[in-house]
């Protein structure tokens, strides 16, 4: 049975949840946040869609192959580590710098962000894979 309230509320808060997860992703590294927690946040918002609607809606919402998403995430995370190796530093060595970006001003960009994006994709991919295989099984 689909609750009307849940239905309407999900449509509104799904945006807030996803934006907040990206906020956590960008905030990570220096402050509480990061790829893992952001990935969980995004996954939870997708689980909410699954609970409110059904697995078909989730698939329409994100029409991608989940194993490929995991692979892409691992690729980003490992690739960031290998970047250090190529440049002659130990594996996973990180660096950061400050950049002037129009409208935003000076911000810090760290290579750890690439790693975090990788973790984010892996977590979301793994969660989606789990709920889609459970959802299809029933």
């Amino acid at each position: 049975m689909i609750s009307l309230i849940l239905h309407r509320v999900t449509r509104v808060i799904i945006h807030i949840l996803l934006i907040f997860s990206i906020f956590l992703l960008l905030k990570g590294h220096n402050e509480p946040g990061g790829g893992f927690i952001a990935g969980l946040m995004a996954s939870v918002s997708i689980v909410l869609v699954y609970l409110t609607y059904d697995i078909e809606t989730v698939k329409r919402f994100m029409p991608i192959s989940y194993p490929a998403m995991i692979a892409l995430g691992l690729f980003f995370a490992t690739g960031m580590g290998l970047g250090g190796v190529v440049l002659g530093y130990p594996f996973l060595t990180q660096t950061f710098d400050y950049f002037q970006i129009p409208l935003v001003g000076e911000i810090e960009l760290a290579t750890a962000l690439i790693f975090d994006i990788g973790v984010f994709l892996t977590v979301v991919g793994a969660t989606l894979l789990i709920i889609s295989s459970i959802g299809e099984g029933s």
Binding site: A68, V85, P90, T93
Partner: protein
Amino acid sequence: MINNLAVYPILIPLVAAIIQLFFAKNTFVQRVLSVVSSALILIAVVFLYIDVRTNGIQVYWMSDWVAPFGITIVADLLACFMLFLSALASLAMSAYAMVDIDANREKYFHFPLFQLLLMGINGAFLTGDIFNLFVMYEVMLMASYVLLAHGSEARQLRGSLHYVMINLFASTFFLFGIGLIYGITGTLNMADIAVAVQNADPDTQGLLTAVSMMLFVVFGVKTALVPLFFWMPDAYPQPPVATAAMFAAIMTKVGVYSITRTFTLMFPGDEFTLTVIKIVAVASMLIGVLGAIAQTNFRRLLAFHSVSQVGFMVLGVGFFSPMGLAGSIYFVMHHSMIKSSLFLCSGIAERLTGNRDIKKMGGIIEKHPFYSALFLIAAFSLAGLPPFSGFFGKLILLFAGAELNEYIFLAAILVGGFLTLFSMVKIWQMAYWGKREPEFNKVKVGSFIWGIIILVGMSMVLAIFVQPVYDMVLEAAEQLLDPSQYINAVLRK
């Protein structure tokens, strides 16, 4: 420019697994990548070994955080030997898996999981940080849980349930042990722990011994030492042969390696712990082989033998002399080649006869003499007949025991070897000799035996060049017995 060699054995399987994930549909690419990755690790390890021989123990700071704060990767001679074995075994298993793994398992990521298993194993051999050791154990175990249950046959699920439960229990225990160590010494870096234990105040000595025994229990579960071996004969017969062989060849050795590392580096030479280790080792040697004699399921029999053979390796650590440790390392090398080739042999016999019970096999030698000869060499080698590698492994251990006047243990080694021979002859008589059972299934044995040829061939190399190999393992053993080398290399004193 920093030397990245030490981290390659972890990175290569990780990268291979990621590439394989991208080729989810194309299993041919996955199969080839498995073999290529193992071969690359093998090459990297040979270079690493040369590097360690010429420049001493290699230390690598992960992400440039200096020990004891960051995670350290340490490659000494023992780690090089273990890495060599894992690369060799994975090469043979990948060659076997190319033709063995069914399409359904291939489709559901058998090969990436295998590479991740390899990454965990290599990581455990290389890490110099005890918490990272725990993490690498978990990486290895996660992959092994999936590989064990992969395919979802009923008997697989039954075997893997025991395996998962006992390993979760052991991992929790491991975590408690690490917590206690951190509480006492305030560090997780193994070299730093070793220093802290040396300078520990005499009051904490009892607690430290208790913690070291806790770790011994954990590693005892993972290697399946008596009395914690009961999960193993249930778990190993279930998955595809290539997976079971990898578990038997290398995963049990990770535990042996951890025991060696713990009791030579962090808690060296304590009289009480060494006595416990020796008693447990002898009990495993005898109970394991007696269990094996009672079995008629080919793979269960081999799994029971693993319990017994691990006893020999751990006994060498218990002797705590250069010769004892050298014997232990030699035995690890011999056993990982021979036991995995025996598992692969059992896989072919199962395919030929469609049966797992050796009572229902028979007469394989009539049709497949070459394959039977390979089995015979491996079986005699396991039993310790000259001139095969098992004989020299036991001989070194016997000399080591005689040097220390530990005659009870010498008797145990001889009895264990004799009973092993008995059960190997049992397989040989029932499955390979005798009357040919109804027709065999049509199997291209030729395409399966490459892995066995690699492994048996390498064990012959061990046996023929026993003197140079002995000198190499003795060098590694002497390095182990002088922990200051490891400590100074890691802490840059």
